[in-house]
């Protein structure tokens, strides 16, 4: 459950990325976030794991007011979220397996248990046979799936993704969309910012469109 209440976000330098934004996403929903470049999609997503803080208003995630969270509490919020970043943020000095292991190491999951869960996550995104590979050896689509595996390995109830199909051809993008759908089908709340709305929303998927930091009608 995610709620934005009259959220303003101004970056230093006077750019208003979000203005008077109010919206609500229910638990188990899948939502597509669209809008022109610079509309504020990434900014909206960054407010959820408290990577950015709102200038005004409240962001509530799972009943917790994230905008007022103490610095020391932020790590525990992030462990309950699965985030896929626009620039992926993979670690290129370690294997696929160890990239996916990182969130579990941070959470202090015992190694045996963790190994099992890493393989399960890699299996879900179809990368199980590449666990020993280094990220540079993966194709663009495989790297994207690696980012997804890392985001879901700790079994978050909310999955947030920023442009997960950018730079991918349509077939590969469709694979990625299918992976998100499968997580949503088992009850995970999914919020995806994308330019590929057509791929994601052939049917009833809810769509939120931003324009210059406001909800577009």
């Amino acid at each position: 459950m995610i709620r934005f209440e009259q959220v303003d976000k101004r970056y230093p330098g006077g750019i208003t990325a979000l203005a008077d934004l109010t919206l609500s996403i229910e638990s188990g929903e899948m939502v597509i976030l669209s809008g022109h470049s610079g509309a504020g999609k990434s900014t909206l997503l960054k407010l959820i794991p408290a990577i950015e803080r709102p200038t005004q208003g409240m962001v509530i995630v799972n009943g917790q007011n994230v905008s007022a969270l103490k610095r020391a509490a932020v790590p525990y919020l992030r462990r309950n979220l699965g985030v896929i970043f626009q620039d992926q943020k993979l670690l290129y000095d370690r294997s696929v397996f160890n990239n996916v292991m990182l969130p579990l190491a941070i959470a202090g999951v015992p190694p045996r248990d963790a190994g099992r869960r890493v393989r399960a996550a890699l299996d879900k995104v179809g990368l199980l046979d590449r666990e020993k590979a280094m990220p540079v050896a993966l194709s663009g689509g495989e790297q994207q799936r690696l980012a997804i595996a890392r985001a879901v390995v700790a079994r978050p109830s909310i999955l947030v993704a920023d442009e997960p199909t950018a730079h991918l051809d349509d077939d590969t993008a469709r694979d990625i969309v299918a992976v998100f759908r499968s997580f949503n089908q088992v009850g995970v709340t999914v919020l995806v910012a994308t330019h590929h709305e057509a791929l994601f929303a052939p049917n009833m998927t809810r769509r939120i469109t931003l324009s210059h930091g406001r909800l577009a009608q």
Partner: protein, 298 residues
């Protein structure tokens, strides 16, 4: 509790991994730190040895009481009895002037000179062992004995020990200052390696934060890294001191035996070795702490 232990084990492993991953850097840092630590550690060991040697040689301070050349047998006997009955005197040994002359005639070099003298230039003397060995008591006795009729001069044979003691105290201060200066160098070396570590681990730190790592989780491997590097330096220092001691042992024993003293340099004992290692690890940890508070930003 189990999770906490796991985190620490992981952090220690990670730190060890980073040390092993750059063996040349690790070895060089350990050498720099080790040699910096070896100087005060070796200095301290030398001081302790010299102090023990001094104590051994000056086991019992004594007073030499010299009679004047003019004093006759009566005065000598009187002085001897006064010394023997003095409550502060433990023992008295009489050294007749003839004995001194004979002994010196036999000695190499000055024997001929002595031989050519027209008469015995040496006075009768007493070697007095006092009951109390404090410098004050010795001084009181000296002042008292010198007033006895026929006594020309009283010499405190422990004066040089006191001088040596003062000198040793000065040397100890110097070693302490040296230790402080070189300890700071150790902290500085760790400070810098950790700074470079933070720079190279930049991506990992950022991603870990985004995935929910606490500050403690991110800092822990660096603390272990600093402490381990300090420990490696401590080990080098320990080896340097050990090798130096073993190398010096033979020559020093030989030298001591020339002076009629049986003496062996002792090797850094266990408590001091542990102290050295602990101090090295602590200084490395401190360097890491300083570097983290300076270079790790959120």
């Amino acid at each position: 509790m189990k999770g906490w232990l796991l985190h620490h084990r992981k952090a220690a492993e990670q730190a060890l991994h980073r040390l092993v991953a750059t063996p040349v850097n690790t070895l060089l840092s350990a050498m720099v730190v080790g040699i910096a630590l070896a100087l005060p550690a070796g200095g301290n060991m030398l001081l302790v040895n010299v102090q023990q040697l001094a104590q051994r040689i000056a086991a019992a301070p004594q007073l030499s009481v010299f009679m004047s050349l003019e004093s006759g047998k009566k005065e000598v006997d009187e002085t001897e009895s006064r010394l023997r009955h003095h409550p502060q005197v433990r023992d008295v040994r009489f050294v007749p002037r003839e004995d001194t002359l004979r002994r010196l005639k036999q000695s190499e070099g000055i024997g001929e000179v002595i031989e050519s003298l027209p008469r015995n230039p040496f006075p009768d003397a007493f070697v007095v062992l006092p009951r109390s060995e404090t410098p004050e008591a010795l001084e009181t006795l000296r002042a008292e004995f010198v007033k006895y009729p026929g006594v020309e001069h009283v010499q405190l044979d422990s004066a040089w020990v006191q001088k040596l003691d003062a000198l040793l105290r000065l040397a100890r201060l110097a070693v302490t200052l040296l230790a402080a200066a070189l300890g700071t160098a150790l902290v500085a070396v760790t400070f810098n390696t950790i700074r470079l570590q933070i720079l190279t681990q930049d991506a990992e730190i950022e991603v870990s934060r985004l995935l929910g790592a606490t500050d403690a989780f991110i800092r822990r491997p660096f603390y272990y890294f600093g402490a381990l590097q300090g420990l490696a330096g401590g080990a080098v220092a320990w080896l340097v001191v050990l090798c130096t001691t073993l190398l010096l042992r033979g020559p020093v024993s030989e030298l001591a035996s020339l002076y009629g003293v049986g003496f062996t340099l002792y090797v850094l004992p266990l408590p001091e070795s542990i102290l050295l290692f602990a101090l090295a690890a602590l200084l490395g940890w401190m360097g890491a702490w300083l570097s983290l508070s300076r270079h790790l930003h959120d």
